[in-house]
Subunit: 227 residues, 2 copies
């Protein structure tokens, strides 16, 4: 069976797990403590990042190469969760980059590091007490990103229209990680709540919602599809 | 004609210009001073980043969505500079992400900002004197990245083997920008020099080498294919 090296709250890892779930691709999950820079992992990926999917025939590094590989393997048959129209595809890819790069740098990477990873990382490798100023700046940025998400959802069931695409899975990955950390005030975001409830009820989401991270307890609504 | 909004030393913009040159896609170039957050540009791309390609039928934002769109438009005919084998494609995409995200964050974005952009950006928007400590850290990281590039080129004409791919254009974009800034000590990197000389002699490279940035003069070898 393939092996997916991942981190439980890492957004790119969650995105890949959701796509694999939707595509029906199974893998054994291995949590990789990337900060340890384990030799055998660096051989697979010298950049020391997750996700990495190890198959018999290839090692797939990073969310975009990995998901493109899986989608192209399906082009003959099932739906790869990408629109057929080239301009619509470009819009889905723009939003994936937004969730995995921009929202990630502004918000998700900061809050996951400060609230979860720093508890696990040794002090001499960057662990320790959270940086409250960095967290405050990230939370300010989150407000702006959630307004943009609400704008995208105006009049739509899914981010780019009437159909679920990889863009929903990328933003869903990001929101689920922030929700685990108690960072989403759902009562302020009814449209996003409806969208996220639809995502959460998909079977591909169940394994993510069952994950737990050492030392961080998610809010009571985290697993509930009718939150 | 399409319009490409870009920045002359921005690596993602250079990558897109090279791909467009190889594909024979022409566009009018507009230098976008992204730090001004011009309203009409934010309408095209609320993230206020370049490159953005404005076509009649679509607005393409960001290097991966943009290049995927152009490559898919050609799938029926010409060579999109991607290998046919799915695992080889994933390797090309991994290296594009390396050049445009990892090398970018560690090195290119820092040196382009400190040495070129800060001369143009008003002081109250982040311009001013360069941060010499940030530049020192970026230069240390550059040494490691160039060793990795040399490792990839061992025994190969191009980064992933015998054929030019989008990965060469992505790394070529990054190296050309750093070379403009005088950051590449070519005598220390003979294998990379041979590879870059092959790239530089391609017609797609000529417009990049002719560009000049306000206040920063490139080294005398910058334009010379036999440097």
């Amino acid at each position: 069976m393939p092996t997916l090296f991942h981190q439980p709250l890492d957004v790119a890892s969650r995105f890949v797990r959701l796509v694999m779930g939707e595509y029906g691709v199974e893998a054994e999950l291995e949590v990789e403590k990337v900060w340890l820079r384990r030799h055998d992992f660096l051989v697979l990926n010298p950049a020391a990042t997750v996700p990495v999917l190890q198959l018999d025939e290839a090692v797939l590094v990073g969310p975009t190469p990995l998901v493109s590989f899986l989608a192209e393997a399906r082009e003959d048959g099932g739906a790869p969760l990408l629109p057929r129209d080239p301009a619509d595809r470009a819009e889905v890819r723009r939003l994936i980059d937004w969730a995995l790069l921009i929202l990630e740098a502004d918000v998700s990477a900061v809050l996951v590091l400060e609230k979860a990873l720093k508890r696990q990382i040794p002090a001499d490798q960057g662990g320790g007490a959270p940086d409250t100023q960095a967290m405050r700046i990230a939370r300010d940025a989150l407000g702006w990103h959630l307004s943009y998400l609400a704008h995208l959802l105006t009049g739509n069931d899914w981010l780019t229209g009437e159909r679920l695409t990889q863009a929903d899975l990328a933003f869903g990955a990001a929101i689920s990680s922030l929700d685990y950390l108690g960072e989403i005030a759902w009562s302020d975001h009814p449209a996003m709540r409806d969208w996220y409830a639809r995502l959460k009820s998909r079977p591909s989401f169940a394994p993510l919602l069952a994950d737990r991270v050492t030392g961080v307890v998610p809010p009571s609504h985290y697993e509930d599809p009718d939150f």
